[in-house]
């Protein structure tokens, strides 16, 4: 799959490659790594008159608020569980959708299906929260006024029932992201040689066998990459989803409070930039460690899929 060292030959041949990589690299360093110096803010007591560098160093003090609260466990648990669910269920749904769309051979349908499924991703969470509210609210909501009475059920105040929200948020997440994720898989699928399928069909394989034995294995690298990238962001949550769609309802905290919403609610009044930076650093660090761990495990199981 790769060149042997001898094929590379002399420096003259390598140089163009290095030059090729250079712009991307320089860009990466300047744009993403230099600003990491901003992480310093997490360890300082910010005094605006002195600026970032001269403010006092206070070590890990800014991190304490994340752990000393009674909610620390709840918010961490929620963040991780939701993300795991999103990764697992989201990937399955996106794959299913991509597989479905891959089968559409007529150009006509393919065009419109793809376009339509991409649209939800373009809508901001604020608008989505209003749509959800229009459906779910007690006084005038579609579900409470039309659906439940038809089914003979009494009205439900969704915004005070914490137990309903994991499902609701999952549905909203899937609605927004499945189409977008499926495009990535679809692109990879279209890179698969159709003759492979022909051969399989001639050998008597049905659709499901084809998917299982050809498509999925060939998609594995893509799936692994995307999953690992998602794992790296496991401590982050979509703020719009957990804060705006829930209408910031306090009664739902036990199942909808994530690290990001906690930080926002706690620091909104304090305006403490050191503490909010600390939260970001904490989330990144855990995510990074998890990526390394997962990569290590993946290497044990199937070495060629590992990221590095």
């Amino acid at each position: 799959m790769t060149f042997s060292r001898t094929a590379l030959g002399s420096l003259k041949k390598t140089l163009p490659l290095i030059l090729m990589a250079l712009p991307g690299l320089i860009y990466l360093v300047i744009n993403n790594y230099i600003p990491m110096s901003g992480i310093i803010i997490a360890f300082k007591k910010m005094d605006y008159s002195k600026g970032i560098l001269a403010s006092d160093w206070i070590g890990f003090d800014n991190f304490q608020f994340l752990f000393s609260t009674p909610d620390a466990w709840i918010m961490t648990r929620n963040t991780i569980l939701y993300n795991l669910a999103f990764i697992a269920i989201g990937t399955i749904c996106a794959l299913a959708l991509a597989l479905g769309m891959n089968e559409i051979k007529e150009r006509f349908f393919a065009k419109y299906f793809q376009g339509v499924f991409l649209l939800p991703n373009l809508i901001s969470m604020v608008v989505i929260s209003y749509v959800a509210f229009a459906f779910l609210n007690t006084d005038t909501g579609f579900i409470n006024r039309t659906v439940l009475p038809t089914l003979g059920l009494s009205e439900t105040n969704y915004y005070t029932r914490a137990q309903d929200w994991p499902i609701i948020l999952l549905i909203v997440y899937l609605w927004k992201n499945t189409g977008y994720a499926s495009i990535i898989y679809l692109a990879s699928m279209s890179g698969i040689d159709p003759t492979l399928y022909e051969v399989a069909r001639i050998d008597g394989a049905n659709k499901w066998d084809q998917i299982r034995l050809i498509t999925l294995p060939l998609l594995r690298p893509t799936i692994v990459i995307l999953t690992m990238l998602a794992v790296g962001r496991i401590m982050f949550s979509d703020f719009g989803l957990f804060y705006q769609v829930t209408m910031n309802s306090g009664a739902l905290y036990s199942t909808t409070q994530t690290i990001d919403t906690y930080v926002y609610r706690g620091l909104m009044q304090l305006g403490n930039i050191g503490m909010s930076s600390a939260a970001g650093v904490y989330q990144s660090l855990v995510g990074f460690v998890l990526v390394l761990t997962t990569n290590y495990l993946v290497k044990k199981i199937s070495p060629e899929d590992a990221l590095f």
Binding site: I18, V29, S49, L53, Y159, N248
Partner: protein, 513 residues
């Protein structure tokens, strides 16, 4: 040469370069300032007319569309400020969504900001050193402003004996009001004068419900907030937000208490629950983001509770909602530190020309022309005068179409009482506001500000607990008998007692001085 070496040395070079660049970029003071104030002036002496005018960056909040043409207004302002105080003004209006962030960024970069105002967060600004101590400068550079606002006001912007800004001189004595549909009130046969307090409202709502079963008698004035807290007299939130109080003073006592353990809170929560059960409130009041004004405009809301200064606020509300709106007071104004210093004009701690900045602040309290230029723009183009003190938009234009307007609600820029009023405003009401500023009841802790940096962990935890329970209790959607004990227990677990102790200690120390 070894290929590996080449690559590694390349990488090392890159890393070194980036570290160098980062240290340049990270330092608050760089040599390459392309914008910002001119550095020619010596900031020790008052500038004389022969020196180059100093450029002062003036940031403020606006609810209107941000104008593209700030230059013409700035020139007009410069015509006054350059001869008077040798200052050129650069205006930076920000919308509510951007304001705090932009101020923070400007402060962090150390340039581009000289004058700005707080948004109810003066204690934070002080403890994070965002504002300059002007105690020694105020007599020399802002004597008029000082005289105009008076001692009580300056007390509110004094922390640990140092003055950090000048509170905007506007109607700060806010009383809780019931804002209601006057036509419906008449139909149900209730005389508004008989309504003296919150306790009288239950009957009124019952009558509304009877006559108009589909109308909502009371809607929230903010998400999760019915406004009942506002109707309680004598609460000083001691630097906490009004709507999310934690450790407060009740009445004349100097004892700091947990607001949620008080009888008053229980009373308010129980009243809300009673109204909820009787159907006087929206079932979703705890979460709906529709504000009172929208609901009133739509026509099926009867009233809401909110605090206003003066007695004429209903005029504008009536115009906005298109209905016959009146208001009646449910209590008396009560002044405390937070109500006065909510909008304080300060000099940025990173300003290169604090004296000049302070001089400009002085002008926005004392100079009628400067204030009106900032708020209304240029006469003839952005507004027309209909009398000596009243203005309106030119024929066929409104706030969205004039080239420049920062027409803000109730006097955010400096001195409300010398700015023009929109046509239709009653000047007698301004007079009333002025009087109430001077004569209202005052908290015993006026002048005390709490520095919360020692308990910021507990504060963030407590705020989360409050956000969880308070909307439900405020809007009656949960049972107070059951939930208040839960709430209080969780508050204690989050460290509210530690906050109370810290506040009490600081308060005692302040009182002893």
């Amino acid at each position: 040469m070894n290929k590996k070496n080449t690559l590694w040395s390349l990488i090392t070079l890159l890393v070194l370069v980036s570290m160098l660049l980062s240290s340049c970029a990270g330092a608050p003071e760089t040599d390459q300032e392309t914008s910002g104030t001119s550095t020619e002036n010596n900031s020790t002496e008052a500038s004389s007319a022969t020196e180059e005018p100093v450029e002062i960056h003036f940031a403020f909040l606006t609810f209107n569309r941000i104008s593209e043409d700030l230059g013409s207004v700035e020139s007009a302002i410069d015509e006054i400020t350059v001869p008077k105080i040798n200052v050129k003004v650069k205006l930076h209006p920000y919308s509510i969504a951007d304001y705090s962030q932009q101020i923070n960024l400007s402060l962090q970069s150390g340039e581009g900001l000289d004058v700005f105002h707080t948004l109810g967060d003066l204690p934070q600004q002080v403890s994070q050193n965002k504002v300059t101590d002007i105690t020694d400068m105020i007599d020399q550079y802002a004597p008029e402003a000082k005289a105009i606002v008076g001692d009580n006001f300056l007390k509110a912007s004094t922390v640990n004996g140092k003055v950090y800004g000048i509170p905007a001189y506007k109607g700060v004595a806010m009383a809780p009001n019931l804002v209601y549909r006057a036509d419906i009130m008449e139909e149900i046969g209730v005389d508004p004068d008989t309504i003296k307090s919150v306790d009288d409202l239950g009957d009124v709502f019952a009558k509304v419900k009877e006559k108009y079963p589909d109308m909502v008698p009371l809607v929230p004035n903010m998400p999760g907030e019915l406004g009942l807290t506002l109707t309680q007299f004598g609460i000083d939130p001691l630097s906490d937000s009004y709507f999310l109080p934690k450790a407060v003073l009740m009445g004349d006592s100097l004892q700091v208490v947990n607001y949620y353990e008080t009888e008053e809170f229980k009373k308010v929560a129980t009243l809300a629950r009673d109204w909820y059960n009787k159907g006087y409130i929206l079932k979703d009041a705890a979460t709906t983001t529709s504000a009172a004004l929208e609901l009133m405009s739509a026509g099926n809301a009867f009233s809401y509770i909110a605090s206003y200064a003066g007695e004429q606020a209903y005029v504008q509300i009536a115009a906005q909602t298109g209905h016959d709106i009146r208001m009646v007071r449910l209590g008396e104004p009560y002044l405390n530190t937070g109500s006065i210093n909510a909008l304080t004009w300060s000099v940025a701690s990173t300003s290169k020309n604090p004296e000049a900045a302070l001089k400009l602040i002085n002008l926005i309290f004392s100079d009628k022309d400067v204030i009106n230029l900032i708020i209304y723009g240029i006469e003839g183009r952005d507004y027309v005068k209909v009398s000596d003190d009243h203005v309106q938009y030119p024929e066929g234009q409104d706030a969205n179409t004039v080239p420049y307007t920062a027409q803000l609600s109730c006097g955010i820029v400096g001195n409300q009482f010398i700015q023009y009023a929109m046509a239709g405003t009653d000047m007698a009401d301004l007079q009333l506001m002025l009087e109430e500023n001077q004569n209202s009841a005052v908290s015993p802790a006026l002048g005390f500000t709490f520095d919360n940096s020692s308990v910021s962990n507990e504060e963030s935890a407590v705020l989360n607990v409050i956000n969880e329970y308070l909307p439900g209790l405020n809007t009656g959607s949960v049972d107070p008998e059951v939930e208040i004990p839960n709430f209080v227990a969780k508050l204690k677990a989050a460290g509210l007692d530690k906050i109370i102790a810290a506040k009490q200690a600081q308060l005692d120390e302040w009182a002893a001085r």
